[in-house]
């Protein structure tokens, strides 16, 4: 660990500490925006941990998230809240491993298609089970306040950043970067590509499930169409790619502007959010293929073309 690493860690811890002061401001509006931003930061950053190096587009976030909310919804009366978050994490990781084992051995297209329908699949099954038992939805009535949710999500986001930083330094992270660059080379250098991908895919799976478990008390009433809303998966993909999936802090750069834009559009033109989503995808593909981070790099390279530090 070098001096810059320690400095970066201290700065990050300081930033996290400042963010933790937000609920003390007493503004309910900004606290609720803050919860949304921290939630998407955790989701998008963990998404980019997997999809950044491998280039696989996962649309399964909503499925994991919904599983997490249902864990809380079903268990909050009998079990302590912290253990529910743990159970959600394990369930999310197991579900991710199953999906990964079925699809990640094959090409990327199969993975995208499979994850695209995964939330809908789980939703149909849960709806069916509920119809058989005669329930419609679940009430989640707890004494957990919005500020508690915010702090828990902030801790989770911090853990995601730490995990991402550690994975980046580990053998697994190195293996994944090689897989992303050239899968054939990776196989020939003795990397078990399928296993590495499955292992890493378990990270966003478990983080999304934990996020869902933490956020369930905020919804008060949960039903399948709310918990498994497919829009969530797309929002996460857009935010991560808008910021830039190649860097650990990239998604954060996309989350903040897109959340604010989304909030303002959905409050004044609620019918047009789908259109916004579509336009955002097109902007990413045609104008910002490497996200804001790529744009920043370009500007920096132009500003100092002879400075070797800027290109590193």
């Amino acid at each position: 660990m070098t001096g810059t690493d320690i400095r970066n860690l201290c700065l990050s811890a300081l930033a996290l500490g400042i963010c933790a002061l937000l609920p003390l401001s007493g503004s309910g509006y900004w606290l609720s925006i803050g919860v949304t931003i921290v939630m998407f930061t955790a989701l998008a950053t963990s998404w980019a941990l997997f999809s950044g190096p491998t280039h696989y587009i996962s649309l399964a976030t909503a499925a994991f998230f919904g599983v997490g909310t249902y864990v809380t919804g079903l268990g909050f009366e009998t079990l302590p809240f912290w253990s529910l978050v743990g159970i959600a994490a394990v369930l999310g990781a197991v579900l991710a491993a199953l999906v990964g084992l079925a699809t990640l051995r094959l090409s990327g297209v199969y993975f995208v298609i499979f994850t695209l329908g995964l939330a809908e699949l789980v939703r149909q099954v849960i709806t069916w089970v509920q119809n058989r038992s005669g329930q419609k939805g679940l009430y989640v009535l707890t004494d957990i306040s919005e500020a508690d949710i915010y702090w828990m999500l902030l801790a989770l986001a911090g853990a995601v950043f730490l995990a991402g930083w550690l994975i980046g330094r580990s053998r697994l992270g190195f293996a994944l970067r090689i897989i992303g660059d050239d899968e054939t080379v990776a196989v020939h250098s003795g990397i078990n590509t399928a296993l590495s991908k499955v292992l890493l895919f378990m990270v966003p799976g478990s983080v999304a499930a934990m996020t869902g478990a933490i956020l369930a008390p905020r919804y008060v009433y949960i039903e399948p169409s709310l918990a498994f809303a497919p829009m969530l998966s797309f929002q996460v993909v857009i935010m991560a790619l808008l910021g830039g999936a190649g860097r650990l802090w990239g998604p954060l750069v996309g989350v903040i502007p897109f959340t604010l834009l989304w909030e303002s559009i959905s409050s004044s033109f609620p019918q047009q959010t789908t259109l916004l989503l579509g336009v955002a995808f097109l902007v990413i593909v045609y104008l910002l293929p490497r996200g804001f981070v790529g744009l920043l790099d370009q500007i920096r390279q132009r500003a100092a073309p002879k400075d070797p530090e800027a290109q590193a």
């Binding site: 695209l116 809908e120 069916w128 047009q272 259109l275 995808f281």
Partner: protein, 288 residues
């Protein structure tokens, strides 16, 4: 027997939609996730012509086909060709085209919501009973099935007997070698993409005679078409037809015996089985 025939009737129209997607993915190498929206747009057109002008959906398709052909040709030329040129590898093109067609699909849903609103729409056309093998079926289902059979058959013959069909099959098998033997890959890929889009839109018009659609149902049809294409094998017309009929029957079976809300779960079960045991498709050969 009742279930089997209903399933086959449904599967026939699925085959048409999946053929459209297969042309786009197998030849133009574009995983078109806006496929379902093209289908819904076709359904909207048929609905609008029928309620507005009392024009039969089976006449609308003759107008719809050239229009959507032109529209899809433009989409390929303007949106997708730059991506094909930019992509360094097959994988990058796949990622880019998935994101771009996702964008397109959301834009189309957004526009359709703006124009038609979020309501379900359906109309009553040929809703008369007809008796086949002792059971009664709605005439519109049977008519749509026959329409799909005619179009599928024409496509099959065209692909297998004509010169452009041969070139298109060559591109599906080996895009690099096709270029070497003097096939204009760029031109034919655009043609295949446009044709695929037109076939899908026509399929949507046929489906709308008996299914209720709304602006955001497209993604379900995209998923089903994708599952069929993968089950049948990319670029394999015969496999696509068999897989579509199979999906139609399985779906009808689950909807009648278990719960109509589980149709996608049924399709997914088939999909998982295929992925685990025959990832190269029903009739596909193992890649060497």
């Amino acid at each position: 027997m009742d279930i089997l025939i209903t399933g086959l009737l449904l599967g026939g129209t699925y085959a048409l939609i999946a053929m459209g997607l297969n042309l786009q993915y197998g030849v133009a190498r574009i995983m078109n996730l806006a496929n379902g929206e093209m289908l819904v747009a076709g359904g909207f057109a048929a609905f609008w012509m029928y309620t507005g002008g009392q024009i039969s959906p089976f006449l609308t398709i003759f107008l719809l086909a050239p229009l959507t052909f032109a529209l899809n040709w433009l989409i390929y030329k303007i949106m997708l060709q730059p991506l094909v040129k930019r992509a360094k590898t097959r994988g990058q093109l796949e990622t880019d085209s998935i994101l771009a067609t996702f964008g397109l699909s959301f834009v189309m849903v957004g526009l359709m919501l703006m124009v038609f609103g979020g309501d379900y729409f359906n109309y009553s056309y040929l809703a008369r009973p007809i008796v086949i093998a002792g059971d009664t079926f709605a005439l519109n289902r049977v008519a749509s099935f026959l329409g799909a059979v005619v179009i599928c058959g024409a496509l099959y013959i065209w692909l297998n007997r004509s010169r452009p069909g041969l070139s298109i099959r060559a591109i599906a098998v080996a895009p690099e070698s096709a270029r070497l033997v003097g096939i204009n890959v760029g031109h034919l890929a655009a043609l295949a993409f446009a044709l695929g889009g037109a076939v899908t839109a026509v399929g949507g018009a046929l489906l709308s005679t008996y299914l209720t659609l709304d602006a955001s149902t497209g993604v379900i049809f995209t998923l089903k078409a994708l599952i069929i294409v993968i089950m049948g094998g990319v670029g394999d017309v015969r496999g696509t037809i068999v897989a579509a009929l199979l999906l139609g029957v399985v779906e009808t079976l689950v909807a009648t015996l278990l719960d109509p809300g589980l149709t996608l779960a049924a399709a997914y079960t088939l999909f998982i089985l295929i992925l685990l045991f025959r990832p190269q498709g029903l009739f596909g050969k193992k890649p060497t």
